[in-house]
Amino acid sequence: MKPRKLCHRIHAYYDGQLQGEEVHSFCEHVKTCVRCQKELKKLNRLTDFIKVSQSSIPDESVFNLLWGQVEEKLVREGLSFIDILKSYHNTIIAYIKMVFKPLVAVCFVFLLIMLPFFEQKEKHVIVQDEAKVKKIRSSTNTILLFKTKKKKWTVMWVLPISKQEEKKDVL
């Protein structure tokens, strides 16, 4: 290899990345290359500086303290919202059941009470808008048809004629 190319390999040599023949040829090169010798000295010095600036590894007791804090934090973090939900799983379900059942019952009763009002309202609409209501009289029944929003006639009420007559008689 050319000396110039060998000079470029100085960092790889310094970091122990050269292998076999490369190391041997570089060692031979360094003996004669002043530039590489200077660069190696610089690299050595830089490593020393960085190592000197590095803090010493703390004692075991310091790490024990750190581990205590980590454990405490993990325990605190471990009790997340989901975990709390999990731990109170049965209670929450029982509570929902307890609240849900009466709620359904109340809704049902409310609907039952409100149903006649809805019906009345519907009848009121029919009376107001006669174009939506059709009366057909067959031989036996009187059929009342109602026009829906989709413009389809649907049977709303079927009253046998005999019953109608009965009503008249009563009146």
């Binding site: 960092h11 830089l46 500086f49 960085i50 190592k51 590095q54 010493s56 590894i57 790490f63 750190l66």
Partner: protein
Amino acid sequence: MNPRLEKDQKEQSLIQRCKGGEFRAFRELVEQYQSRIYAVCFGIVRNREDTFDVMQEVFIKIYNSIKHFSGQSGLYVWIYRIAVNTGLDFFRKRKRKQKIIEKSYQDGGTVKGGSHSQSPADIAVSLELKDLVHRAIAKLPDNHKSIIVLREIEGLSYQEIAKIMECSEGTVMSRLFYARKTLMTLLKKYMAVNGDRQNETT
């Protein structure tokens, strides 16, 4: 049995126990790497107290994400990656607060390998040097900083650094080269003075 194989098996069983959420196994596993994690975190953060905060965060991250550790890269590579990324995140946050240099100067650590028979002048020089190196490393870009730490302090190979940093060996080599050049430029005066002194003494 081969001791290395035995160690690997033990590590695997610890990982499995960790995945099951066993804290004691987790501690046993990570304690093997705590000194290295400290060195890496300090190398990036350059402040002893902040290093412990970062380490705490690293441990919690490891504990929470070990379930997803597939074992494709070695455990130490995975742990180093978490440590480097957490350290860099912390450094960035601190940088935003614009207190880097002032804070990094407050290191309470003792000088590694320093002799006990140092004169006050030597100690002053040593402190000055430490401060200068802290400032110089703090000025490096994030990628360069982590590579310098992994290479110069941890002594990892290019291949290992490439795995941790998730880049090619060529990239590691070039980043390391530029990081060293930058540091040499930033420490130029000191290096030259120190070099001259050394030359004088020799």
